[in-house]
Symmetry: C2
Subunit: 354 residues, 2 copies
């Protein structure tokens, strides 16, 4: 094959040797300029840049990767769902990765099952990524996998063993606790929880936060209701919960489930927030405009992905250094119209006024 003639019949793509020749320097000097290495005279640098520009030179990353052993790319294993949460996380990751000067490779695991994750990581490793991000994994049981690059677990504890593992989280546990405490503060005797699928770490975190808040106040812990993040499943859960008149407050593990839940509650004749208060989880801004506007906690997707990528890049570039200290992301409760004091307290106030 003629070099550079891969596609169509255009002229051969210029190589670093062409640039070197035109600039009148050696290939190594071209390499130095392109990699911002020191020990290049300003004059040589200028000439190389001018020659590269004139030729329309484009560095061949595959060759660089092969020669240097480093790829400057990070792979992310994402969930194949288009929810607000997962999408926000992916956007944040892309940005942070690009800012760090790395390329991003994405593999989805539609079902998020362990084999799926293993296969996805494996394929990223083959592609030669310098680091891997496992975003919101679903894991039952340990996955064993030989990984020789740092791995970042976003929103979950390490799901398999790797030489260098870093974690960062959105602080879901603290957020769930804040959501539950908000309801308790309003005077509700206890708070029901509409959780995500139990297989997800994200669900576990939120359940843990909810439990902690309940326990701290000595509140009775009602049985858990489980959904699948969808509004449909929230609706189904709402049908169930509506038949129990003792339910006055529900913390849903996702905004969309909360919306479905409220719909079912209202169809069953229970008013929100007068009879039942509902808190969501995520912070999708569109739900400020539904009726009632949804009280929720905002997940700091941006902060978490930025922080996580910072740690990952650190682990990649300084394998032997200590990890820099990390700070917990802020907890942000967005109080809107779907929460109110329980009916009992509302009545009391009403009687006092009368």
């Amino acid at each position: 094959m003629t070099p550079g003639m891969g596609r169509g019949a255009g002229p051969a793509a210029p190589r670093s040797a062409d640039v070197a020749q035109l600039a009148g320097v050696s290939r190594k000097t071209v390499s130095r300029v392109l990699n911002n290495e020191p020990y290049v005279s300003a004059e040589a640098r200028r000439r190389v840049l001018a020659a590269a520009d004139e030729l329309g030179y484009r560095l061949n990353h595959a060759a660089r990767a092969l020669a240097s052993g480093r790829n400057r790319s990070i792979g992310v294993v994402a969930l194949g769902t288009a929810g607000y949460g997962t999408a926000s996380l992916l956007v944040g990751i892309e940005q942070a990765v690009r800012d760090a000067g790395y390329a991003l490779r994405v593999v989805n695991t539609p079902d998020g099952d362990p084999e799926g994750i293993t296969g996805a990581v494996e394929s990223l490793l083959e592609q030669g990524v310098d680091g891997v991000v496992v975003s919101e994994p679903i894991v039952e049981g340990e996955v064993s996998l030989r990984v020789d690059v740092p791995v970042l677990f976003l929103g979950a504890p390490p799901a398999f063993s790797a030489d260098r593992t870093v974690t960062a989280s959105v602080g879901a546990c603290a957020l769930a606790r804040a959501a539950t405490e908000h309801l308790l503060d309003l005077g509700h005797a206890t708070v029901h929880h509409l959780a995500g699928p139990r297989r997800w770490y994200a669900s576990k975190d939120r359940i843990a936060g909810w439990r902690a808040a309940l326990a701290a106040r000595g509140a009775h812990e009602p049985p858990l209701v489980e959904g699948d993040w969808s509004a449909d499943s929230g609706y189904a859960a709402g049908l169930e919960l509506a038949s129990d008149s003792s339910v006055t407050a529900v913390f849903a593990a996702g905004d969309e489930m909360a919306i479905g839940l409220i719909h079912a509650l209202r169809e069953a004749g229970r008013r929100v927030p007068e009879d039942v208060s509902v808190v969501g989880f995520d912070g999708n801004p569109v739900f400020a405009y539904v009726s009632p506007p949804l009280t929720t906690v905002r997940q700091p997707f941006d902060a978490a992905s930025r922080e996580g990528i910072r740690l990952l890049v650190h682990a990649i570039e300084k394998p032997d250094a200590e990890l820099p200290p990390t700070s917990d992301p802020p907890v942000e409760l967005v109080v809107r119209g779907s929460t109110a004091p329980p009916p009992s307290l509302q009545d009391q106030r009403h009687l006092q006024i009368t």
Copy 2:
């Protein structure tokens, strides 16, 4: 550098030569097995596979890319937003790309401006992708860029010249037309349109569909209102539209804008759908559970991305063959509770009954 000693102090990563040695064949035979090439005896194949498995061999994609000139990867230029639409599209693309046996690289263009797209494509080209997907671009003016691989424009006409260009779309124009016609069929004299930012091709398509429907019925075309896809901007537009009592039907170019719009309308004392009907655009299932449930058109993200990637892969693998025929995606109108006949017709019916 000792081969394979890049990270940590583990044993050297096995190379194809190691596999060849263990299997007792040549490196070329290993290569043949790994690439599913013909002319390998079953026995040789078995031995190679066994050796690879025993060694935990992982193919080095960078080396393959360098030697073969092909990368088996596709790059996508996406928008750095976490909206339901863009996220759904990206998920669909990833799936289709993976199914086709390619790896996916992602670069976002936060602002979607022309320079952003140019830079993003450039960086993908450096990474050696075999094809590029430009997803829902925003373009004002032509971007000129030397691209020597096929480019797929998803939901937009070619934004810059490339040797081989393919396009696929969600059929936004037909969808917008269907949404508008639904309103017209209900008896509304005309339909207002809350458009997306004018710089987006996606907005233009929807405007064109809306106009076509209006023109076909001889309906008067009211002035356009422009939002930025957010619920906030829909709310702002709703405030504006609410003051005009002649408005009885609005087609919003996005579900979220529609939700904001409805909220503003109701705050201003106009009932939905009794006084004003609203149709959204996207088909996010969560909006079946708000009040009123949102009538919308569903974008066939999956079909469009699948079709687009099919064309792109065809263009990559058979550069000289004709493109296969393409079919228009289906138009799916989801009628829910946010649309009804205009007040005038409701009154008439009422009078007749009385």
